[in-house]
């Protein structure tokens, strides 16, 4: 699969089959995540991988937006006190970006390995923090479900480039070499 195909055909997977995800693949995925851009090379992220049934069940209890059949969850966590200490107030806005960059690498690497993923933000941070036994200053800023799937959902529509690209300034008229 080419890079363009990988990017365009990846979908959020909300229905997984029962096949377990091996540790080797998880580590390959997290290894892709740590090569994401990170402000000041601070690398504030930690990845808590959960795949034991008992723990998954607890996470799902406090994550209404999580696919029920997910066999594995990666929680991307950050020590916000450390972020402030090392990067000041500025980091408040930067940390979510770093996390998002890492997450995108996770989604793409997993897909390349034949796995489906879904980003989940609908969960209670405090409850999840307690389930994951996170220190008080550490927060799970994003959960990503990972697992094998039987069916890839069809692609939702995307806006045309001409609707969202602006050259030089917002008011520019766009003439693109756009197909279709």
């Amino acid at each position: 699969m080419t890079f363009d195909e990988l990017v365009a055909s990846r979908r959020s997977i909300r229905q997984y089959n029962s096949r377990r995800v091996g540790r080797e693949k998880i580590e390959a995925i997290v290894n892709a995540a740590i090569w994401a851009p990170t402000a000041g090379n601070l690398q504030l992220w930690h990845f808590v991988v959960v795949n034991e049934e008992k723990n998954l069940e607890k996470i799902k209890l406090f994550s209404p937006g999580m696919p029920k059949t997910a066999p594995c969850v990666i929680a991307i966590c950050v020590d916000l006190a450390e972020a402030k200490l090392r990067g000041g107030e500025f980091m408040k806005g930067i940390v979510p970006m770093d996390i998002a960059f890492a997450a995108q690498n996770i989604l793409l690497k997993a897909y390349q390995l034949g796995l489906g993923t879904c980003v989940v933000k609908s969960y209670n941070e405090k409850s999840i923090g307690r389930v994951l036994k996170l220190p008080d200053t550490v927060t799970a800023l994003m959960l990503i479900t990972v697992g094998y799937y039987d069916k890839l959902p069809k692609a939702p529509e995307r806006k045309k480039l001409s609707e969202i690209i602006h050259y030089e300034n917002w008011e520019s008229e766009v003439k693109l070499n756009e197909k279709g």
């Binding site: 959020s12 909300r14 229905q15 209890l61 406090f62 994550s63 209404p64 937006g65 609908s122 969960y123 209670n124 409850s127 959902p153 069809k154 939702p156 529509e157």
Partner: protein, 91 residues
Amino acid sequence: MKKDDQTRMFTYLITSARGCVEEPPLYGTLRLLDAYSMLLCMLKREKADEFYFQLNERIEDLKNICMDDEKQFIEGLDRVLEILTDHIINQ
């Protein structure tokens, strides 16, 4: 209702209630549909009306398109309500 089911249902409802304060409005709709499916799944063991299981199949399909096609999702939800209304009226 079994103890495990109680935990699942009540935690889901309260966590959702808190989440809905900040989440997009459509998420609230989705949570209610999810709660329907969860309750039905729990009732299954107690032999609920077969009609509601059939309705759930439509609801499951709808949940899959909720984030991709809002218009189709809402139309589908209208249809589900029509079917439910027919069922209640003809009972």
